[in-house]
């Protein structure tokens, strides 16, 4: 892990990012955001506010329409092909519906986090480097899934799957972790446990995290910083303690739903 560049400046600078899937219907309307090199930032906001799109624009799973995404000094929006993939492998992602490869084993799913570093013939033969395999098993142990290594991913429960999802992202040794509604498919207790696991593992490794969340209370519980989005814009940015009723009303619109 040692040689990771821990620059003093911000990990991520998003500048005036816009995205429209259909002409004239922008989903992101000029989002700007700086992210420190540590800590957990949660993005809250109503459905359709553009939270998922924002996250996917960062690792270019979605192409931004305009703006810049500067990651450790490099504008990712300007990259293509191999260069983009080389940056992408430094950014881990956790998904709402886990997105594990269902028919592969748990350990293969974890190891798939290393695919950015593996030539295809080795991927085909599952010839991962010894240290990757060792790390995958260590991580599995930490996630409490040791005995599931050889199980197929579709045999796991939701919470277990999301643990594998987190493991896969951490296998990348990411310098940034993106989590898109990581608990929305889980029950409240499992949601809290998953957030706990993700927060702990990320803090231990000094990885900054951006999490999209629906559950405001859960978000506030784990966040160092909260960002409120409405209609493609950031309308709030501050610590969880600053999240007053008025702010929530501004983010979600109206107050009636709170009572």
């Amino acid at each position: 892990m040692g040689d990771r560049p821990h620059s003093a400046g911000p990990t991520l600078q998003i500048q005036d990012l816009t995205k429209q899937y259909t002409r004239g219907q922008p989903v992101l309307r000029g989002v700007s955001l700086d992210l420190d090199s540590e800590g957990i930032a949660t993005i809250i906001g109503p459905s359709g506010a553009g939270k998922s799109t924002l996250l996917r624009c960062i690792n270019r799973l979605v192409e931004p329409t305009s703006g810049r995404v500067i990651f450790h000094g490099t504008d990712l929006v300007a990259l293509d092909g191999r260069e983009l993939r080389e940056y992408r492998r430094r950014i881990g992602m956790v998904f709402q519906e886990f997105n594990l490869v269902e028919r592969l084993s748990v350990i293969e799913n974890l190891l798939s986090g290393r695919l950015g570093y593996l030539p295809p013939w080795r991927a085909w033969l599952r010839r991962f480097p010894e240290e990757d395999i060792q790390r995958a098993f260590d991580l599995l142990e930490q996630l409490g899934l040791r005995e599931f290594a050889a199980k197929r991913a579709d045999a796991l429960s939701g919470g277990q799957r999301q643990r594998v999802g987190i493991g896969r992202a951490l296998m990348q040794e990411p310098e940034l972790l993106l989590a898109d509604e990581p608990t929305s498919s889980l029950d409240p207790r499992t949601s809290a446990e998953i957030m706990e696991t993700m927060a702990t593992l990320a803090r231990e490794r000094h990885i900054p995290v951006i999490v999209n969340m629906h559950d405001v209370n859960l978000a506030a519980r784990f966040a160092d910083r909260m960002i409120g989005m409405t209609d493609g814009r950031i309308v709030f940015d501050g610590p969880p303690s600053a999240l007053t009723t008025e702010v929530l009303a501004a983010i979600y619109g109206g107050e009636d739903w709170m009572h």
Binding site: N59, L61, R82, R85, E86, Y87, R88, R89, R90, I91, G92, M93, F95, E97, N99, L100, V101, E102, R103, L104, E108, S112, G113, R114, L115, G116, L118, P120, A123, W124, G165, R168, Q172
Partner: protein, 276 residues
């Protein structure tokens, strides 16, 4: 008032509903016409072809005589020919399946619209669908004319057929995969090939094995007929036996073919179960 409120208030609802009803009635009417047309064509085609019950019954009588002449099967007289040609059929089927599958795999992938741009999928789709357009016997005639009599023509014919069918089925399987799993693998920074290996193949490999064994079955069946047009295999001997009225030999050949195909089916079922 904007359009939405007007519709909500019901002011625009009625005419739209009438139009829908009218269309529905028209469709029912067209449907009935189509049925009547089909029935008429069946009667017409039957009369043109001399398809009468009397002829059918007479045919059944001939069929019975023919069946009695088949028995007992004669495995002895032409056994070395039967053995040689049967093995040739098997070889044709195996070669065609292997080459067909190996070629269909990349073609099927290139034709998948959820992974490839239209510029790639369209030409590949044309190739695959042309491979599927003609019956193997017709393709067999072409190959026999082009490269001469013998099993090579048969093997090439069935390779084309395999490409046509497996290619299409494989493309459809790929187009049905979950892109979420693919997206997750892509997000790790994996190269396109690695995304295929980890994100796509695991989702389709079991079905691909299914298609392949099915195609092997089909190739085995078809390899027994291609000899009729001179493309090698048991079909040639079968035709010769028919033309010489050696019905007991015909019977022996038919029994051997049935046995081979049943064995093939058992094997492919085993393979499929092994890969599940």
């Amino acid at each position: 008032m904007d359009a939405l409120t007007r519709r909500a208030a019901g002011e625009e609802a009625l005419p739209a509903e009438w139009a829908a009803r009218l269309q529905w009635l028209r469709r029912r009417y067209g449907m009935r016409l189509a049925w009547v047309g089909l029935a008429g064509y069946v009667v017409y085609a039957g009369s043109v072809l001399g398809f009468t019950p009397a002829r059918f019954w007479a045919g059944l009588g001939h069929g019975y005589v023919f069946l009695t002449r088949l028995l007992p099967p004669d495995f002895v007289t032409r056994w070395s020919d039967i053995q040689h040609d049967m093995l040739e059929s098997l070889e044709i089927a195996v070669l065609a399946s292997v080459f067909g599958i190996v070629l269909a795999l990349p073609l099927g992938l290139l034709a998948a619209r959820n992974l490839m741009p239209p510029m790639v999928t369209w030409p590949v789709r044309v190739v695959v669908s042309v491979s599927r357009s003609f019956h193997p016997v017709i393709v067999g005639i072409v190959f026999v004319k082009a490269i001469g009599f013998g099993p090579l023509a048969g093997a090439l014919t069935l390779t084309i057929a395999s490409i046509g069918f497996i290619g299409k089925l494989f493309t459809e399987a790929i187009e049905e995969i979950s892109l979420k799993q693919v997206e997750a693998v892509r997000a790790t920074g994996a190269s396109f090939l690695n995304v295929l290996i980890f994100g796509v193949l695991p989702q389709v490999s079991a079905r691909f094995v299914g298609f392949s064994t099915y195609q092997f079955d089909s190739n085995l069946r078809n390899s027994t007929i291609l000899g009729i047009v001179g493309a090698g295999g048991i079909g040639g001997t079968l035709l010769a036996a028919f033309q010489r009225f050696d019905y007991n030999i015909v019977c022996a050949i038919v029994i051997v073919i049935i046995t081979l195909i049943m064995v093939g089916e058992v094997i492919s079922e085993r393979i499929q179960r092994w890969f599940q």
